[in-house]
Subunit: 570 residues, 2 copies
């Protein structure tokens, strides 16, 4: 193949494809240059004046390297990898470092393998990080466990790129043996470890980094960013749907520029479709005053260096021909996207087919419940006072409020209160576990809501004011194999949306899924859910036991600050 | 081991060693910081306030990461790897990318293996590049040949780091199949390829880089440096004994800083001892106006990134504890040098023993000659005019002058001329090849000079005005197993210096070797060698057939510009 590259580079033969008359970013010198870009096979072979068997005129366009998302959970889009690619590739993203943490919590290694194989169907390089923290805490019931020995066994797989975000920083800092075994396994395999250490500083940070951790996408404070960079960490500038840290770019200097990379972490399909992916981050960074060339360097060369992706992230001979021709460096509207030297998207539309999607049986039918009955949701309280969960502004941190309660026939009375029942029903191993709690202030009335996305163990989470409706909602989720559901008691209606892949993602196309999803969300608001909340996704964070304060697990009510279970009776 | 790092990092146990009260360079933020540096085993575990089992007070000193020499031929020091290390480690160099091109031309893979094994005796990381161009040209007789198939076989060896400087750029640009096979083998093995492409620009450069070449240590012009960097090449700032490109640092900008690294390429023992190694480069760069922190970044982090040396080249947790405590960032005098967390040099003196040196039989006795006689050096010319070689200012480029000659008894007459005979005698395979030529203006009279260093095939090169003396010189070199020799006809004396390792390097200690070497060089000057020349080493470049214009090979007189043999008769 080298011969073909060299002959085209030296203009002895025509290149396969030439982008003519471009302005392009030279990320090494940090300047714009003009010229044709010649491509043979999957490689750029030269810049200058070239003729190609095929040519695309890029007059007036600016060509930049394909963007690299340094950290993303595909599952957060609720789309299959194929459909996810159909939204982000036309935006200019050609490589992602993906951590299948959610699906692995449900399906174990079958989830990783599914993401790996499904990704092969699309023109997007998916570098797969083996999730390091499955389950996220030892207190709940997940669909799978990856202990140190499981990491040792799987990290050496060819399709595994590295070890995913190491959220269990207390485990590292306190030298938990099984936690350290995971880091050691990654080093033995010569693989990178992504970090996750919000507001960890000083000696604790030194200890955490001594596990050989390379990145952090959780930092937001000036001092935190400076300290982490000074200690060798690559810092992500994150542009998720809820977590947006584009402000990190304020702390870029001439000297530390090379240590910043972009990521999205968690981004909904609606945002991907309507606002975009890293192109949206670039647009906003530039609008906020970051030099556009620097912004592109963060999205390309820096990420390639961070993740040892040689010959990627720049426009130069022998570099991978992952290229984006944008209208300008302000709007970043992608006119053409090339992956491995092939035109794969034009005018924001994919040129690849995603209608045939990989769908193995072992990621389907993951909702394992007995038939639920109204009685399962009876909540017996001891006295007149109980703890109720609330959601604080921001959407993921919860509060704990002591509320007055009435009981009747051994069940709490919800009529004429702004209280609802919350239930987390274990759905992986048929343990029969049901955690029950009270929630105050969601606004919903007259039935039940349910969803099989409940970070990070993804049990069934249900909310409602009627036991019968809650049982119906659970049974519906079991029947459809996972997804979201609304039971309207008065109308006697059940409305649902199927997320057949692990109960987290849909095997359908992005467009129809979103339209149905929007309709269901509107139905929930029509039944009273306050607009402060994202009708279903706000529920999904109520069992995430690593974020304060009060959370509900399948095993019971959990006080995150005390890191132990707590009694609902106050 | 992680547990020990983390416990010390978090101050639950004492570190093994702490550098107290330092000012240190943070290469990631490009600033100086203050604090202790804690070390456990071979790793830095943290900066801050630490206690150690051992402590070294560094008050008033500045600590920088150990320097990385991006490209060096150890053989040019004429020292064994052990003695070479004894000179450069105390200067602050802790890692070198070494290309054993010279010894491999003589001994083949045994030369590579020797350098690898000898290097294990010293606290210096020697990353060994497999020489890509042995022999340097197909026109001469070397001791070994590494064809494409040999590169394929050996590049996969664990002790081989990458593929050495690819000097044969015409071979690449013109797609010579065996040349491309070498590059392809390196890529298959996932190994880096160093470049060497002086003044190669434009489409030729694109073609050359399409072989996947990462670096260049030959560029010196502003346009050349800018073009190479813009095309993804890391550019070396070279500080050799004769080739000094520190001026390249003038072209450093905020944006391209990360693409510059330091190297020495070829540096004599005398320079290493008297002036220094990369410390001397840093000193001069700073004196010339380069910001000292930037200079250090080039010598450390940049080189580590270029050569994929993860967790090296910075002072941060989990980074290799290769550290240099210098007096200041102007003089760069190394007070302490740490390698892998151990103090290995103090006040410019090594703390490691190099008296036991690895010396395998297969790099000794490499001068294979029949007994030479005076008649072997008879030079029969056809007429009255002949081509004579000269050396142009700079020392390596030669000229061709047409001179009037007299002959007597079928041999050229040298009396009363400023002409000398030059002979290159093949010494590897006993072919009996002798190339003969005339040299004008060296100044030497009354005998012969000889040396077994003759780039790049390292045959015996002799210069003299007396056939008998030239034969004696050759026979002496055979007898001592390689080195340098002077035959003084009038005094009937033969003086020599042994370079027993491949005829290139000495197994002796640096100090005594240098003293003897200086004495021999003075003897040559006393016999007339002009001070413009380096008595012996100027000879060593007279058979280097890749540098213009007229060169002498064992196979005959060679016109480099025409890239073919040429007749001595003009």
């Amino acid at each position: 193949m080298l011969e073909k590259y060299i002959k085209a580079a030296t203009r002895k033969v025509k290149a396969d494809l030439v982008l003519k008359n471009t302005t392009y970013i030279d990320v090494f010198c940090g300047v714009l240059r003009k010229g044709d870009i010649a491509i043979v096979g999957e490689k750029i072979v030269g810049t200058g004046e070239y003729e190609g068997v095929e040519e695309i005129d890029c007059k007036g366009l600016t060509v930049v390297p394909g963007y690299i998302d340094g950290h993303v959970h595909i599952e957060s889009s609720q789309l299959s990898p194929e459909e996810f690619a159909s939204l982000i590739v036309p935006r200019g993203t050609t490589t992602i470092i993906a951590d299948p943490h959610e699906i692995t919590n449900v399906c174990g290694m079958a989830g990783c393998e599914y993401i790996a194989k499904a990704s092969q169907n699309v023109p997007l390089d998916v570098m797969l990080q083996l999730p390091s923290c499955v389950p996220a805490t030892p207190f709940e019931t997940s669909g799978a466990t990856l202990a140190g020995k499981d990491i040792e066994k799987n990290i050496v797989n060819g399709y595994i790129f590295g070890l995913g975000e190491f959220m269990n920083y207390p485990g590292i800092i306190n030298c938990d043996p099984d936690t350290l075994k995971k880091a050691e396994a990654a080093h033995s395999a010569g693989k990178i470890i992504d970090g996750h250490a919000p507001a960890v500083y000083g000696y604790d940070l030194n200890g955490y980094l001594c596990a050989g951790i390379s990145t952090d996408h959780e930092c937001v404070y000036k001092e935190e960013i400076e300290e982490k960079i000074s200690k060798g960490v690559y810092v992500h500038i994150r542009h998720g749907s809820s977590t947006k840290n584009l402000g990190n770019a304020k702390y870029i200097t001439d000297a530390n520029l090379r240590r910043f990379i972009l990521c999205t972490d968690d981004r909904h399909a609606a945002d991907l479709k309507e606002k975009g992916h890293l192109d949206d981050a670039l647009r906003k960074l530039v609008a906020d005053g970051l030099d556009p060339v620097r912004a592109v360097i963060c999205a390309t060369l820096n990420a390639a260096e961070c993740y040892n992706l040689k010959y990627r992230g720049a426009i130069a001979p022998y570099y991978l021909a992952d290229l984006v021709a944008v209208d300008n460096l302000k709007n970043f509207n992608a006119k053409y996207v090339l992956k491995n030297g092939k035109l794969v998207a034009k005018d924001g539309k994919p040129l690849f087919d995603t209608s045939k999607r990989y769908l193995p049986a072992n990621v389907l039918n993951t909702v394992h419940l007995k038939n639920m009955k109204a009685d399962d949701f009876v909540l017996t309280l001891k006295g007149k006072k109980a703890k109720a969960m609330t959601i604080l502004p921001g959407g993921v941190v919860t509060g704990c409020e002591i509320v007055e309660v009435e009981s009747r026939d051994g069940d709490v009375v919800l009529e004429n209160t702004d209280l609802l029942k919350l239930a987390v029903v274990e759905r992986h191993k048929m343990t029969g576990n049901i955690g029950k709690a009270l929630f105050k202030g969601y606004g919903f009335k007259g039935g039940a809501l349910g969803i099989t996305i409940a970070h990070d163990s993804h049990n069934v989470i249900l909310m409602g004011d009627d036991n019968e409706s809650m049982a119906k909602a659970a049974n519906c989720l079991k029947e459809i194999g996972g997804g979201m559901v609304i039971v309207d008691k008065a109308k006697g209606e059940v409305h649902s949306l199927t997320l057949d892949i692990a109960g987290l993602m849909s095997s359908r196309d992005a467009e129809s899924l979103q339209s149905d999803s929007r309709a269901l969300i509107e139905r929930a608001h029509a039944m009273g859910v306050k607009r402060d909340y994202e009708a279903f996704m706000s529920l999904a964070f109520l069992s995430l036991a690593v974020i304060p304060k009060l959370k509900l697990l399948d095993t019971g009510l959990f006080d995150v600050e005390k890191f132990s279970f707590t009694d609902i009776n106050a």
